[in-house]
Symmetry: C2
Subunit: 203 residues, 2 copies
């Protein structure tokens, strides 16, 4: 589970530093070599002990998901900031989806590596991460669970997995769709509560 809530251990600056080192080193190695390093090679390049790696992640695949989670969290924060500053919600949402797609295209081999990770929720790759992003969006837009469905409901899993599939086809395979159109068409498929959140969302 790539959690957003830091525990006491995770708030320790050394913990944060070694996690950061693993993530940055993995992103860098994958960009340069396009192939998955062993845990030993990754730990050595990051300047940490192999055992330290396992304090953070169970596998290199899980670390790859973490790198993408970091990118997506930054994009989520920009999304919320722009919405609160009064930008057009549709334009912001489409721009966010495009930025997510761009970041995955730039990290293609890392994204393919992350796709083989199975989380405890049973989803593969970044499915769980997208589920967490939905929860963060619901919270930050002030959307009631009664209206939008509870966390981890069938509705949320469907949405997160649908977005994940479109990202996978767009980055690692093919769709019959103009790449520039993907975000717009994906946005149209999202549930109503994302496309028209209540007024309170712009507080």
């Amino acid at each position: 589970m790539v959690s957003e809530q830091p525990s006491a251990v995770e708030a320790d600056p050394r913990f944060t530093r070694s996690r950061r080192a693993i993530a940055d080193t993995l992103a860098d190695l994958m960009e340069r070599t396009q192939s998955c390093p062993s845990v030993s090679a990754l730990a050595e390049a990051a300047g940490i002990h192999r055992a330290t790696f396992y304090n953070h992640f169970d596998s290199v695949e899980e670390a790859a998901v973490y790198v993408i989670a970091d990118d997506f969290r930054a994009l989520h924060d920009l999304n919320i900031r722009d919405r609160r500053m009064g930008a057009d919600p549709t334009a912001v949402a489409v721009a966010t989806l495009n930025a997510m797609l761009d970041s995955l295209r730039q990290r293609k081999s890392l994204f393919l590596l992350a796709s083989t990770w199975r989380s405890s929720s049973g989803l593969m790759g970044i499915g769980d991460l997208l589920l967490e992003q939905l929860h963060a969006l619901r919270r930050d837009l002030g959307v009631d669970e009664q209206e939008s469905g509870a966390n981890n409901s069938v509705e949320d899993v469907y949405t997160a997995s649908g977005v994940h599939g479109v990202f996978s086809a767009a980055v690692g395979g093919n769709t019959d769709c103009d790449p520039g159109e993907i975000a717009v068409r994906l946005y149209e498929l999202l549930p109503q509560w994302i496309r028209q959140p209540p007024e309170s969302s712009t507080h």
Copy 2:
């Protein structure tokens, strides 16, 4: 690609027989051992040469997808037959989704194995298979691509991936949802063209 259209080679009865033997043997082995056999062990148990295996599949994972594809095709045919006999389309669709879920639950370790396969379209596991099922549904219900979106469109990839994710969470992980309700709630999320196909569908 687990194709539905047999080529000239695939129509050869020996080809069909060895493919059948691989699929049945894999299903049987996974049920008994809950672990993935090597290609050599699978070929030996199926009574074929190792090289013959590779005439059919690139990997054991791909063969696992084929086993599930076979189950799903039979369910699709029942679905279409029941619709044509005038059964209530909603009841038929929910029953089909429940039957798909049941067959995956019964083949859980095979399904988890299949989940790690990546197709050429960039989707993992049975994502591609569900995409083919959507195409077959569109064809057999006589739905116009103009209304429903073209094959492999963003819309189809989203739907297939959404269904895949819900199946994965329901079988291999968790949702916050009563298992008996999953098919009903999943059905509600499907695109309009599946839920209300044109009248011509019951010809």
